[in-house]
Point group: C2
Chain length 122, copies 2
């Protein structure tokens, strides 16, 4: 049995499915509406929707013919939570850059002070 | 050809590969060190490492026998960037909760004020 996070990541590992999610982030849509921008058949879109639904990334309305799709973000939040452990890597490197810029600034200030001292000692 | 983000997400869609990444987040490790906590063979670990390397999630040292693995976080940051569009969903719901709590607090304050007015009108 596949764990939920692996199922989610696997469902997201497809550009068409990510594009469908991006569309649904704007609001509910029917299968026909979702198929429109893609050069793929309705059955192919339906297959993608089934993968997204199994991964809990979308849900579908009850009305048999209409069945609008909507985004469900709990699984995406689970990916976000998993990523949070690693976020320190790019945030740290951002912090390091900020610290470096601060150092340059301070260096300039010290240089400035040095100049002033030099003036006094003249 | 698979796009880079799909390759990354697909590589992450496996609990053993995510566990390997979690280990490497602590520091470099050799294949033997990585294999230790898992009940899988060295060749199986090597296969997982190849998938992670192809996805740009790890890199490996040059020394032929040693070849320590290290985490590379640019691809993870790309996932983080992709997720940022969706983050508003759970941050919004958090904001809504905060607003609701604020409303309750204000409601209480108003009630309090109402009581005071009632007192004055007595």
């Amino acid at each position: 049995m596949t764990d939920p996070l692996s199922t989610t990541l696997s469902a997201l590992a497809d550009p068409t499915r990510r594009a469908i999610l991006a569309r649904l982030a704007q609001g509910e849509a029917t299968v026909n509406e979702l198929a429109e921008p893609f050069e793929i058949s309705l059955p192919a879109v339906s297959r993608h929707l089934k993968v997204l639904e199994r991964a809990g990334l979308i849900s579908r309305g009850r009305a048999a013919q209409w069945r609008p799709c909507r985004i469900e973000t709990d699984s995406l939040k689970a990916v976000d939570d998993w990523l949070s452990v690693y976020r320190r890597f790019w945030e740290q490197s951002f912090d390091r850059m900020a610290a470096y810029l601060e150092e340059i600034k301070e260096g300039k200030t010290k240089e400035g002070k040095g100049d002033e001292r030099a003036k006094k000692n003249r």
